[in-house]
């Protein structure tokens, strides 16, 4: 509505009434989005796949949901403080005479790089892909581990 007033679109009367409703809905979504964003601790980079990074005393754990991705289609590399995850998700099950009711699952390539807080011991990194979840275990270097300092 603000948009229309600002730019004075001449054909507003001809526009579909639903367009205005749709615009209102989007504005409401934005409002609610702004209200709820502060309460969640979820962050996002806008890049597929979404990654959860956690740490214990000895390791970093990097996890991503990659259902339907085969291990051989996945490429993980470490350089310095960065770990890159790239690959391709293929959807095979396309039968020639099949008619689709729904098609929500995406196929395609992805590549992402994640910066870790510390340098990575590249040789000791281990990755596993179980039930569509990728887990990369990244051991911390000795000097990055927390050290108990005893007071004499």
């Amino acid at each position: 509505m603000i948009y229309r007033r600002m730019f004075g679109l001449p054909d507003w009367q001809l526009r579909d009434r639903f367009h205005e409703l749709e615009q209102m809905r989007r504005q409401m979504d934005r409002l609610f989005g702004a209200l709820t964003d502060g309460s969640t601790k979820k962050t996002g980079s806008g890049v597929f796949p979404a990654i959860n990074l956690t740490e214990s005393m000895d390791n970093y754990y990097l996890r991503a949901e990659l259902s339907g991705v085969k291990a051989e289609d996945l490429d993980i590399q470490t350089t310095g403080k960065n770990i890159s995850i790239s690959g391709e998700r293929k959807i095979f099950d396309v039968e020639s005479n099949a008619k689709y009711h729904r098609r929500e699952r995406d196929a395609g390539k992805f590549s992402r790089i994640v910066g870790l807080p510390d340098y990575v011991d590249s040789d000791a990194v281990e990755a596993s892909l179980i039930n569509g979840i990728l887990t990369v275990v990244i051991p911390k270097k000795e000097n990055a581990k927390p050290r108990q300092i005893s007071i004499k």
């Binding site: 597929f48 959860n52 990074l53 956690t54 214990s56 990659l66 569509g132 979840i133």
Partner: protein
């Protein structure tokens, strides 16, 4: 197919299930992404449910309503602290009403790499009978 190969996957937020009776149970429910296609013989459903093991997956077909629900096992260790969290885990829940008559005895479900493949064969249509009209 060549089109989808060059395409990059876009990140989409997991969809939380909105207003359902299931919400009375604790935890977050997500709607899994699905592909549903049908051929002359069967209806096939593919659903992305990463993190669900077969023991925690429930598939139920009752009065033409297909219900898929699954629970994700927490894989984080107790001593792990969050550094960066971009996705949440929870339960998956989705219902479909089927218009076709499904042969319940031949339903087949497979779970591989976090993808559920559900094959629902249609009941074979009764062969048309020819009725002869007698005169007399």
């Amino acid at each position: 197919m060549s089109d989808s190969k060059s395409k990059e996957i876009k990140l989409r937020d997991k969809q939380e299930v909105a207003g359902s009776a299931e919400q009375t149970r604790a935890g977050v429910f997500f709607t899994p992404d699905v592909d549903i296609f049908e051929t002359e013989k069967a209806l096939t459903l593919l659903a992305d449910i990463p993190g669900v093991v077969p023991e925690n997956l429930n598939i139920d077909l009752r009065e033409n309503t297909l219900t898929i629900s699954g629970e994700v096992v927490q894989i984080e260790g107790a001593d792990e602290k969050d550094v960066m969290i971009e996705y949440e885990t929870g339960k998956y829940f989705r219902q479909f009403s089927l218009s076709e008559v499904i042969d319940q005895s031949k339903i087949d479900a497979k779970l591989n790499d976090g993808v559920l493949r559900l094959t629902l064969p249609k009941i074979e249509k009764a062969t048309p009978r020819k009725i002869t009209v007698k005169t007399g």
